[in-house]
Point group: C2
């Protein structure tokens, strides 16, 4: 007998994969949490039946959400991560020696707990002396923060369940207030094949609040369509103006100085979403 | 009741999608051919249970296999397509006004026949006065051709079934002989997540025969991993030296002059396959 999981990425399309065992299967206070041992991608975390991360391809998402904004800012010291309970984003942020403190606000303690247990290479940086983990609501934390952060990373789930409030114009305005006068934020903003309107709205709202607003992409095989987007909003520094020579080696598997620039070059149908 | 197809892209991972009906299901002389009407991607052609093309995302593959080499060559006149029986590649090639003749060698007449019937927007250029369609073996045609083509496009299936001979060093040597002294070829070379060795071999073999050998990528949601690669071999012209101002608008949805360059900027783990 062989057992396969299926994620319906839309009403009529999805991915399917062979699993060796179900490691966790729990309704937490906030969402459905599943941890699967898959044959192809190693251990896999799903929230509300959507793949969040896997051991084999997690490096793409985590390198790209962290290093693009952190190398855009000339000297990021205070960083906020909203969500990101698996720990991959904080792991990448800590590779930047300028960073003095990373505050992370994750709503669901169970995500942290099970990531520590089943995704040890992803969650390896929890407990680092430069990190502070707050179990709570990211939106509330942002509303209470003023002129505080150099970089804010919104490492959320899709806009259903607990993350629904994270894709609104009010949230982006709150982020702008929580950032310093030369601050930068980035948010994961799904894929252009199945969620064109989400991207159109995210980039439009970001443009209304930040002088610099740009979209960049990467390839994640376990995410819908394989193409993922991030929306970056910046008060001062343009990610396209970064001197490649200022980018140090982060010992990664995806991000490079050349890819930093190239990831902003969009296919025409994606460009059209940003007009 | 709802009916879903599944393509196993590896032994333990795949895609699945809802279908409205099975349009064709036939064992041809060369391969298993299925044409499905899918809910998400429109009509979909599968050969030997692998997705070849769909109405909704075909533009990516066809624009990227055609325009990158055809804009790299300053004046492509004679073009050969090996495979490509759905017609999408020839449709894109004919957008180049310099092209005088496109010879296409497709081994399986049934692919052409059913594409004309069920993929009319893809197969729209069969019968154009600049095209010659030969039903036959592409390898044989190349062996018999000397110093004949400006550009050769290998628009094949994966290296199983009738296309097995198309991923060998002997094939690349034959292509070099069939090309003129400043000729260019491109071949689809699968994805770096599940087929790393195939890419490593393709780029190594191409480097041994062509002075310029490069890999470029694009995003195709219905292909394994969502990231697809093409290997380009060129006797004289470097695809990275193309003047963007020489690239005219091809009225597409994916390819742009900026993306021409950016598609050659590889993630680090893909770069490593090319060393």
């Amino acid at each position: 007998m062989s057992i396969w999981f299926t994620e319906k990425q839309t009403q009529s399309f999805g991915i399917t994969g062979k699993i060796n065992q179900i490691l966790e299967n729990e309704k937490t206070e906030y969402q459905q949490l599943d941890m699967l041992e898959t044959e192809q991608f190693g251990n896999m975390l799903l929230l509300d039946n959507m793949v969040m991360t896997t051991e084999k391809d997690e490096f793409v998402y985590h390198e790209m959400i962290a290093h693009v904004p952190l190398f855009t800012h000339p000297s990021p010291k205070k960083v906020l991560i909203v969500g990101g309970g698996d720990g991959g984003t904080v792991r990448e942020v800590l590779k930047h020696s300028s960073v003095e403190k990373v505050t992370q606000v994750e709503i669901d303690n169970k995500v942290v707990e099970y990531s520590k247990k089943h995704l040890p290479h992803i969650s390896s940086s929890f407990g680092d002396s430069r990190t502070e983990l707050i179990i709570g609501d990211g939106f509330d934390h942002i509303i209470k923060s003023n002129n505080k952060y150099d970089v804010i990373l919104v490492d959320s789930t899709e806009p259903v369940g607990p993350a629904a409030g994270l894709f609104t114009k009010g949230f982006y305005a709150g982020i702008a207030k929580a950032l310093k006068e030369d601050g930068i934020f980035v948010a994961q903003t799904d894929n252009p094949w199945f969620k064109a309107e989400l991207i159109r709205n995210a980039i439009r709202d970001t443009k209304e609040i930040f002088p610099i607003a740009r979209l960049y992409t990467c390839n994640i095989p376990t995410y819908p369509s394989g193409m993922w987007t991030f929306t970056i909003g910046s008060k001062k520094y343009d990610p396209l103006d970064v001197d490649p020579n200022r980018i140090s080696d982060i010992n990664g598997q995806y991000y490079t100085p050349e890819l930093h620039q190239a990831s902003f070059v969009l296919p025409k149908f994606v460009q059209n979403l940003c007009k």
